[in-house]
Structure formats: C-alpha cells, structure tokens
C-alpha cells in the first residue's frame, strides 16, 4: 500500500471560504477537486502539500449552461457530466470526443474539468480541446475575478497562472455559428494518457457552404506544442479552402512547430508525425461536422457511465 505523508485537511463550504482558507494556509496548501491526479501523486510522495483544501462541497461550481452567447462550464463539473451534456455536445462535439477518451468511467465520474486544467499535465486532453476552442478561463480571488485566455493559462508543465490564493471557477467558450469541432487521440491503451492528440475547431465563411475557412483553432497535447496550440497552422488555415490538401498541409505545419520528447510512449519523430496526422484528421472531422456532411457520431453511453444526477462516488474526499 502506498501511503501519503502527513497532511492537514480543510473542507471548504463556499468559494469565499475556499479562498479564505487558501489565503490562510499559503502556498503549501493545495486545492483538492476530484483528486485523481493529486492523491496518487501524494501516495507516491511526489506531492507533499501541507494542507488539502477540499472544494468538493462547492456544488455551485458544477454547471453547464449557455449565457450571453457563451457556453459556461463550472470548474467543479465532473468529466462524466460534460460527457453527458447535450448542451455542450451539440455546440462543441470536440468536448464529447475528448471526454470519451479521458481515463475510464470511474475516474470520469469524480474527476473535474477545473481540476484537470489546474493540474496542467502536459498530456492533458481538455487543455488541448479548450485551446482549440479558444476558451476563456475565469479565475477568482478574494478581491474579485479575472479572465485569462486558454492559451495564456498554462505557464509550463504542471504550472498555470492561477496564483496561490486563487481558484479557477469557470471556463467560457464563445458560440460562433458555422463551426464544427473534433478531437483525435492515440494512446497505448484505452484510458491511457495520449501519446499524441489533436483537437480542431473550424468556422467557415458565411455559414457552411462557401468552403472557405474563416477561422480555425488547433489544440495539441503531449507533443510539446506551445500553449497546447498550433498558431502557425491556424494562420495558414485562415482564408484557405477547406480541403483535405489544406488540412494535410496544416498538419505538417503543426508538426513542424511542436517539440515532442522521446519517452516510453514513443520516440519524438513518431509523436511529431502523429501531431500532423491527427491534426489533419481532426480538421477533416471538424469540417464534416461544420457542413453537416458527415454523420455526427452519437454519444455512446458505455455501461459504466451514468447520468450526472446519479453518480455515487465510492470514495469520499478524493
């Protein structure tokens, strides 16, 4: 049995309470959301926070809604809830694509969207999905809130702009017509972190029939892409015809700009290849959705997956 080191535990009852606790316990305190990354790291003693501030009681941060032309996702929304959300999936299919390949049903029932983003693992799927969607993050502290673009959220592996004493509370995505999105991931096994993955969002000029790309977003993860994105490939796509040739070239550009490292998941050249291949495939799938040309894959409910109203996590506090 792997056992963590001694740690203090505090349970927050409101966002303000959580922020007060964070201020009181300082930089050695860590926020406990779903805990599916933090607790294993603590058991391995790779993380040894002095205090855990449990925010699982903040049910007010668990929501998915459309407000002011934006999709808004509360930071404590569980992965399973996002995967189950028709509101999210109808507008941004990429979110369902990504959620379907994150870990396994048990982890998805308790792991949170905000926790995943703040953990800031360089192989995180949602970081790429939100980068592709050009989302905005809402961060709160005791003096107020501020918003940060998804592409400015991460400052490095396992590091974000969320400062000690702050809490990520919401993710916002602007709803723009004429768009489609998709996510493609390759792992060694179901539920594994990606060897490489690409998300793409595409918006066509004047609605869906012109065939010209008005704007595009590309998110890449696990391949050393700056800010989980591929800005040069996006520049190339803007104004270009939406064809497989364009997508293949965009994939090449994305591949050239990422800096993958060799590890046991694969050598760098393979990951670079994968970045290009998956970018092109994701763009193709996103286009099919934008134009309605391809069938939208239905959300399959796997046996272990339940509706958000019913999840009963087996373990409290982690």
């Amino acid at each position: 049995m792997q056992v963590p080191a001694y740690v203090e535990y505090e349970k927050a009852t409101s966002v303000d309470h959580a922020l007060t606790l964070l201020a009181r316990f300082g930089p050695e305190a860590r926020v406990l959301a779903g805990g599916h990354s933090l607790i294993p790291m603590m058991k391995l003693r790779l993380a040894q926070p002095e205090t855990l501030i449990d925010i699982n009681g903040l049910t007010g941060l668990s929501y998915i809604e459309v407000t002011d032309g934006e999709l808004r996702i509360g930071a404590m929304t569980r992965h399973a809830q996002l995967l189950d959300s028709a509101v999210a999936g109808q507008r941004f299919a990429i979110l369902h694509d990504a959620e379907r390949v994150i870990a396994d049903p048990v982890v998805r029932l308790w792991g949170t969207v905000g926790g995943s983003l703040c953990q800031a693992d360089p192989s995180e799927d949602l970081s790429a999905a939100f980068a592709a969607l050009k989302a905005t993050m809402v961060i709160q502290n005791l003096t107020g809130t501020r918003t940060v673009h998804a592409r400015e959220f991460h400052t490095g592996p396992y590091e974000t702009v969320v400062a000690p004493g702050e809490l990520l509370t919401e993710i916002r995505i602007a709803i723009v017509p004429g768009g489609g999105s998709a996510y493609q991931k390759v792992g060694r096994r179901v539920g594994d972190w990606p060897i490489g993955a690409a998300g793409a969002a595409i918006w066509l000029d004047n609605g869906s029939d012109s065939g010209t790309i008005a704007d595009a977003g590309i998110g890449l993860t696990a391949v050393g892409a700056e800010h989980f994105s591929a800005a040069a490939a996006e520049d190339f796509l803007r104004g270009a015809p939406a064809t497989q040739e364009t997508f293949a070239r965009a994939g090449q550009i994305a591949a050239e700009h990422c800096r993958p490292v060799s590890d046991q998941r694969g050598p760098a050249d393979y990951k670079r290849h994968l970045a290009g291949e998956l970018t092109a495939r994701a763009l193709g799938a996103a286009l099919a959705r934008a134009t309605g040309a391809g069938p939208l894959p239905p959300v399959q409910r796997s046996p272990g997956q339940r509706s958000p109203g019913s999840p009963r996590p087996r373990r409290g506090g982690s």
Partner: protein, 793 residues
Amino acid sequence: MSPVSDHLPNGPYGPVPRKEDARFVRGRGTFVDDIKLPGMLHGAVLRSPLAHARIVSIDTAAAEAHPSVEAVITGDMLAGRNLAWMPTLSADVQAVLATDKVRFQGQEVAFVVARDRYSARDAIELITVEYEPLPPVIDARTALDPDAAVIRDDLPGKADNRIFDWAAGDREATDAVFAAADVVVDCDMLYPRVHPAPLETCGVVADMDHVSGRLTVWATTQAPHAHRTLYALITGLPEHKIRVVSPDVGGGFGNKVPIYPGYLCAIVGSILTGRPVKWVEDRSENLMSTSFARDYHMHGEIAATRDGKILGLRAKVLADHGAFNGAAQPTKFPAGFFHIFTGSYDLQAAYCEVTGVYTNKAPGGVAYSCSFRITEAVYLVERMVDLLARELGMDAAGLRMQNLLRPEQFPYTCPTGWVYDSGDYPRALRAAMDLAGYEDLRREQTARRERGEYMGIGVSFFTEGVGAGPRKQMDILGLGMADGADLRIYPTGKAVLSVSCQTQGQGHETTFAQIVAAELGLSPDDVEVVHGDTDRTPFGLGTYGSRSTAVSGAAAVVAARKARERARIVAAAMMEVSADDLEWTEGAWRVRGDPEQAASIAAIAMAAHSGLDLPDGVEGHLDTETVYNPPNLTFPFGAYICVTDVDPGTGQVAVRRFIAVDDCGVRINPMIVEGQVHGGLADGIGMALMQAIAFDADGNCLGGSFMDYLLPSAVECPSWELGATVTPSPHHPIGAKGIGESATVGSPAAVVNSVIDALAPLGVRHADMPLTPAAVWSAIQGRPLRSDLAITD
C-alpha cells in the same frame, strides 16, 4: 440454492460452479493483507534509487529516533547473523539487504519496523545513504564487453558478467541440414522484459514466538512447502518449527514462486521485536523489484526446402537475468525448457545456444506463465515459420499444416530430446481454421488490401510442456518436483483432500473435488480441498509451470483410487463376498452378476469405522496418502488465429477476433479451463501490444506503475472464440494435461504474426513487441527492432 450436483450434466466432470467464488464475490476472501494479529508491527523497505553504486555509508540514527519505530535493519546487521545474502532458486545468491553495492534500481537497502504503516514509510525517508555511483550495465548486448563494469564482484574470482553458456541439440547435424537446405531465413527478435503483475502484490506476516520457538509465516506464495524448507535453510530455524500459510492469493503467474528479501526482513524484524511484522509491498515495489519474465534477445534461423518442407532450426540467445540469477526453474535447465523450441513441427535437426548475463536490473527471468521459457521458444519458432512462409510465398496456415507432426508419430522424440506424449495437431489447426472461417478471412483480406486497408491474419501453433516433472530429471534446490496428496474419508462418507499445490485463482478447490468425487462416486459438494498450510498438507513443490492438474491432480487420483481399493476390502467383508467378486460400477462396489448387492463409499466408510470385523489390509479407515512422481511432462497444444486491423497512419492495432483451439487432454471442469484460456489470451494481448518493463540508459525503471506498465482491458480484448479437441495424455491417470499457461504461451505469436501480416504490403517482415502505436509506426519506417532501452530517438 440447489446443490452443485444438480448442475452436473456428466457426473462430477463438467462446468461445476467454482466453490471458492462464493467467498470472493462476497468480499470474504482472506488475503495476506487481511491478516491482523495482536501487537502486529509494519515494515517498509528503503530501496536504492540507483542502478549501480557502491554504498559508502548508511545513517539510520534519525529513523531510529522516530517515536513509532521499533527497529531499523541494515545489511551490516544481517551480515552479523549470516543473513545478508540468501540463495536464489538458480543456485546463485542474492542480497537480502545490500552491504557492499546496490545492483539495480529498487534493490533493498534497509528495513524499518514501526507501529504503523505510515510511520514505517515516514521513517524510510529519515535514513541517509551515501552512494558512490558506478557505471551501470543496462543493455544486455553490452554486458560482455571487455570494459563493462563487473556487477557481481561479490562472487569470488568473477571478472565479467557472464552467468552461463548452455546449448542443446546436435550442432553438427543442424549445420549439415542448413548447408543442404534450399532456403534459410533468419531474424533477430527481442522478447522484452515483462512482469506478471498479479493484482495482489507480494507480502508476508511473520510471527516468531520465542516461547514455543515456532515461526509462522503468512505469505502470498505459490509454493508454501518449498518456502518452509528455504526459510529453514537460510535462517537455521528447525523446519518442524516453521509453518507457512498461504491464504487466498490474488494471482501469482510465477511472481510468487521465489522468496523475496522483504520476507526475510519481516522474519528478522519479528525475531528482533518478538512481535508479528507485516510487510506488504506496494505496486511500484512489485513491478520494480520482484520476478520479471523474458528479456530474451534471440537470433533465429530456419531451413527448408523450396516446396516448404521445414528441415532445421537454429537459435542463439542472449538471456538477461538481471543483477542476481534468480530464475525459478529446474536446476538442470539454466534456460528452462527453451530447447523445446522446435515446437510442433517434424524437422530433422535443431540446435540452440543460450548465454546468460548479469545486468543492473531486477532479478528473475522465469515468471508470467511462461512454462519455464516455452513462451520464448514458441514465439521464436512461430515467428520463424511465418517468416519462412513469407519467403516461400506460402500461406501461413498451409505451411504449418504441411509440417505439423502427424498423429501416428506420437510418442514423439523431438530433436532436442523431449518426448511428446500425445497429440493430433492437424485436427486442432483444422478446427481453428474452421472456427475462424480462414479461407473467407483470406478473401476478405485480399479485397481490403485492394482498398488500401490493412487487415492481418496471424496463426500460431504451440506445443506446451507442463507438469514438471520427473524428479530424477527435475528439482529446485535439490527438491524433486513431486507432489503429495492426503485423502481422509469421514464415517459419513464426506472426504477431505489435502494437497501440496496452492491455488492463486485457478479453482483448485473445485477441480480437485471433482477429481476425487469422480473416483469415489461422490458429489463434489462432499469433498473439501485443503491447501496452502504446511501444517495441514503433505509436502510438495507447489503451483507453477501449469503443474497442478498434471502432478497434484494425478496425486489426488492415485490417493482416491487407493482409498477405493481399501473400500473394496471393507465392502467384501460387509457383503460377505470375496473382494475379487466385486466390481466398481456406477459409483459403488457391486457384486459381479448381482448389481443390486452394492455398497457406496459412504456406507463403506461407516462400516470401516464400525465394529465390523475387518480383513487384512485395512486397519480401520479408508484414509490414504500418496506422492506422485510424474513419469514425463504432459504436452498440451493448440492452434490460435488472430485477426487484426492496423491503421498505418497512427500505428494503432485493433484485435478484431481471436480464435483459440486448445487441447489440454481431458477437461475436468471445462468452464474453469475456458476461464484460464481467457486470462492467458488477455495476457498475450498485453505482451504483444502494450507491455514492457523498460529502462533508460541510467537503469531507471520506467515501468514502475500501472500508468506505464499497461494491463489490457476489455476494450483491447475481443470476445474470445474458443474451441477444443481432446487428446488424453497416455501417462496421466485421468488423461489430463494442464491448461494454466497454454494461452500465454501461444497467443503473443499469433497477435504479432497478425500485425506483421497486416503490414506485409508495406514491406514489414518483423517488429518487436510490444507493438505499441509507436513501434508499429517505427516498423513501417524501417525500424523493426526494439532496443533494450525504452527511449530511443
């Protein structure tokens, strides 16, 4: 619930529900970590962060000052008791706690005994060890370089990293066959280091009672009796004062055959403190330090005529045994049973050479359901036959069918001396091809290839050799590989069978009850099986190498038949007839010609304990005992076909279908047999597609968690399609052969052959396991071979 006997279609043999499942599905099993004794302390091991380093100093003062710590044990303390080193199962020695050097990352350096698990773990961090790093030897291919660091300088006169050179077969005859052959194909291939990864990690509770002088060891072991003898030999405690109890075991797969340093540390901890000490390793400790499997660098050559007659086989192997030679296998066979590598084919000559080397990696080598390295042998020959088929432009199944041993050749002596007991190989292959719809699959493949789709059909055929073994030829540390059985029949006709083998999930409590029930005309419900406690069971070497049914199962039959013969004498007295006038039919002794005059075992057992005048030959009960020394191995076999779809753009492999036809002789409980096959096939998918205990150049283990050492899930496994043929073993008393490892032995080659077949249009002829997306893509780029090191650019 209705009794088990209501579910019996054909007497006691049949798909009887497993007796042990009732407690497992209710969460009422008892595993080592469930053992809680009054005053019990908890141990934790400090492990080396480095692969190769000299120990300059160890400072335990701060750990000893921890308020909850009861003892801190170091190698120097053990050396004072002559316990710093222990024998391995391959006649080498292994450090219990390092005294001079550390030789692999994760090696045991110190042991803390504390009042709770958390404190023990905390105190580990208070120990300061100063290391002087030494150059590590990680890639086995460099281990014999003249400038390679000598890992085992503890061995007198040891000046290199060579463990052994060993050969089997007829070199000259093989060379002659190769020289005359039309076609010779060769290939380098690595069977990577993998790990059995049982879901229950290894652990022990040691309880030394200084008043009685008795040591009780609760342990997750596949071989409780052998462990008792080892503990006696190592510690000097008298063997009759040692009791080893193996409670429920959550998977073994060979991982739980050896004893590990943590076990001895817990025993020493209990001796020092006079209190029970529990030590249960965590997942990373299990993956990083306990018995691994494989790590065979193989070069294969196959010779044939142009029309596809296989003539000969040659193999040269570099075997990486890690820092200590701790392979658990019969003493006379340093490469295990690898030399059964001629497989299932009728060829003229074969020769193999194996060189074992030390590296700065965890010790082991024989585990993960490998049948003493027949897994490696089958992988080699089945890859070579596929390569030959490709070279000759022949169908992979057709070439096999042409060269398989024919039924009339059995018993068959293979070129390296094994005597296969029985088989009908073409029937099994034909059954698999029929189940698969082989010819239709080939047509589909052709059509898909025209559309640019990559579909593979992989075939493997294997011959297993299990049930070690004849004690004259096979022993471990001098203990002959025989197994005992005690059978007690109570007055009311209920029976208790005690056996020396130890279940780890195989369902012995059910299968062995069925065996006895069939012999005595009882219901399996009437037979209780006792195992896993050396105080309650007869001596024997335990469960590994698929030997339970082959050896202990035979012992159970022999014990039951002895009891039946005793019952015959009693029955004769009961019915006042001559024993010669009785015949055993329909579960009772009956008077010949007058079958109404009959006595069941229950009636006879009561009579045997009654005031009945008993004739000579029976003292007063029906109890019997036996030791079974198998006359030969049994040789299960099977034909496997795997269908895959490969995406060359990403390198992803999807296993679409897997067809497995197994012949394990007589099936006692077909449901349990199929369960064993299911598990082994999943293992095969894991090894072929995702598993490797990998290292970086510094010797850091990169497979130390289930995040990086991947177990296949239901998503990667298709719905298995199983078939069976039954060719009884002629020398086993009920014709059974054993099934435990067949699927693990046979399936990896089928998966790899399938993927290579899919990639054939791209010119790929080989790729090393595991065929991760990256490995498949690299093979398409012309880089088919996996380095010993995990990370390569």
